[in-house]
């Protein structure tokens, strides 16, 4: 204990007030503090508490912070399912202007030949570069040919927020859980994602309805050869993947969640899930189910360049092309 302990409390506050504010740190000390390399014991006067505070803020992950893993992996699986990955050819250092001109031309040609002028009228130019690259590149993976013909067309119909397959899966699971008084439903990360996409938990029903309507509309409008979102297949596939991902993971909540109870119900029992999912993985494939594609900013230089953020929804600061990465160098 030091002598300050003996000072009455209000006196101590007065002293704190009179004391000069903590000194300005030199650059090196500040950097060590910010990167967790400064032991509180070595901190300049007034900064030991900050060093400890920042260490606590950057402490190793707590279990509750990792609770959403199964849902995240399920979303990932749904995206992979609806949009089989193909390696993107290296486009680095291609002059961006030249590139975008080429792409524009090629997109027009491909669109016209694949799906007719009607689809072109929907404005394909900002379409996913990944798809474009698949079509354009001579090095493109064989799987690009195996993807459904309607795929690029339905890809245009991205809905903001969640991609179609994911929201279809979540909506179905959500609807399946309606009426069942399950406290988990609203809490799980997956359903919170759904609620976020819908604009609020109370809007999920309307959102799911709209999503279902949208799906019917788009297929009834004769979207080339697209088969329309196979909600059941996608949902099943997503849930199955999530279920499989959770296998052996010791995830106690797995069997309890509405989504998995829906899966169990569809399968005809918890014990029948493996067999049920077995059939899903083959049948729900390659349906061209309105996937969302990563819209890449075509005109941006590509070195070490992540794509733009998914949904075209955001408008504000950063404008379009936001999510565009901080360019290096």
């Amino acid at each position: 204990m030091n002598e300050e302990d003996a000072v009455p409390i209000d006196m101590r506050q007065l002293l704190a007030f009179l004391r000069p504010t903590p000194p300005v740190l030199d650059e090196d000390t500040a950097d060590r503090l910010l990167t967790g390399r400064l032991d509180p014991a070595d901190a300049p006067p007034g900064y030991a508490g900050v060093a400890r505070l920042l260490a606590v803020a950057a402490a190793p992950a707590a279990p509750e912070e990792l609770a959403g893993q199964a849902a995240a992996v399920a979303c990932f699986a749904a995206e992979v399912e609806s949009h089989p990955p193909t390696p993107m050819p290296r486009r680095a250092r291609m002059p961006s202007k030249l590139f975008s001109v080429k792409v524009t031309a090629v997109v027009s040609v491909v669109v016209l030949s694949v799906s007719g002028a009607a689809a072109a009228a929907t404005g394909l130019l900002p379409s996913p570069a990944r798809w474009v690259a698949d079509q354009v590149s001579p090095t493109s993976h064989a799987s690009s040919t195996s993807r459904g013909q309607g795929d690029p067309v339905t890809g245009i119909l991205d809905s903001p927020g969640l991609d179609k397959a994911t929201s279809a899966a979540l909506c179905q699971a959500w609807q399946a859980g309606q009426g069942a008084s399950n406290g988990n439903r609203a809490d799980s990360a997956a359903f919170r994602a759904l609620a976020a996409a819908a604009g609020g938990a109370d809007k999920v029903a309307a959102y799911c309805q709209a999503a279902a309507d949208g799906g019917t509309n788009s297929s009834s409008q004769g979207q080339a050869t697209a088969t329309g979102p196979d909600a059941a297949g996608a949902a099943k596939a997503g849930l199955c993947r999530a279920w499989q991902a959770g296998q052996g993971g010791g995830n106690g909540r797995r069997d309890d969640s509405v989504a998995f109870r829906a899966l169990a119900a569809a399968a005809g029992g918890v014990d029948k899930i493996p067999a049920f999912c077995e059939t899903t993985s083959t049948s729900a494939h390659g349906q061209g189910q309105g996937p969302s594609s990563p819209p890449t900013t075509l005109s941006s230089p590509v070195t070490a360049s992540p794509p733009a953020s998914g949904p075209p929804s955001s408008t504000g600061r950063g404008g379009q092309g936001q999510g565009g990465p901080p360019t290096t160098g």
């Binding site: 030091n2 101590r12 506050q13 704190a16 004391r19 504010t21 903590p22 500040a30 910010l34 007034g46 508490g49 900050v50 400890r52 505070l53 606590v56 803020a57 950057a58 402490a59 707590a62 912070e65 990792l66 959403g68 893993q69 849902a71 995240a72 979303c75 990932f76 699986a77 992979v80 990955p85 193909t86 390696p87 993107m88 990944r130 927020g161 991609d163 997956a190 919170r192 994602a193 609620a195 976020a196 969302s292 990563p294 890449t296 070195t303 070490a304 992540p306 794509p307 953020s309 998914g310 949904p311 929804s313 955001s314 408008t315 504000g316 936001q322 999510g323 990465p325 901080p326 290096t328």
Partner: protein, 187 residues
């Protein structure tokens, strides 16, 4: 940070490998969640989930190293916070009222942060900083980005980022002192 195995992990995830994706997720999710808890405490979990949606959609097209990847993920997260603010303004709903922030609960987060070693309380304390300072401190301390990355991400000059960090640190130091904890922590 994942380190040397990052490129392999990334390309596996880009190829659709769920385990690889899960490892990327586990590595970044805590930092992402904490960044968002400082930015928008009431919606951090939702925004983290939305951020991952964007990551998942854009993953196949991503090119870059681990540093670029982290910067990209936090860029996406930051844009989700902008979206959230816009929507909140439109809905005129419960953005945390300023009075509420000034009205400190009896358990001062400063005290809680240091005494209980609580990450949540530490984040709450950082969240009291002016927004730009809080953001710089979080991106440096929690996201593990360097000055150059943060400057690019925020669209500010590196010098500005340094100044904001200094101000944030000083303010935190004063805040901890005024909470009467200086004695406890300088001992």
């Amino acid at each position: 940070m994942i380190g040397p195995s990052f490129p392999a992990l990334l390309s596996a995830a880009q190829g659709g490998d769920e385990q690889a994706f899960a490892m990327l997720w586990r590595d970044l999710q805590p930092a992402l969640l904490r960044y968002l808890r400082v930015a928008i405490p009431t919606a951090a979990d939702d925004l983290a989930a939305e951020t991952w949606m964007s990551v998942i959609r854009g993953l196949a097209g991503f090119r870059g190293d681990e540093r670029n990847f982290r910067a990209w993920v936090f860029t996406l997260a930051r844009h989700r916070t902008f979206d959230w603010h816009r929507q909140a303004a439109r809905r005129q709903t419960d953005v945390m009222p300023v009075e509420l922030l000034g009205d400190r609960p009896p358990d001062d987060p400063a005290a809680a942060a240091l005494e209980a070693q609580s990450t949540r309380a530490a984040l709450a304390l950082i969240a009291e900083l002016p927004r730009d300072q809080a953001e710089v401190v979080t991106l440096r301390v929690i996201a593990g980005l360097d000055v150059a990355d943060v400057a690019r991400l925020l669209g500010k000059r590196p010098g500005t980022v340094r100044v904001l960090a200094h101000r944030g640190l000083r303010r935190l130091a004063r805040r901890l002192e005024s909470a009467g904890l200086a004695r406890g922590v300088t001992r």
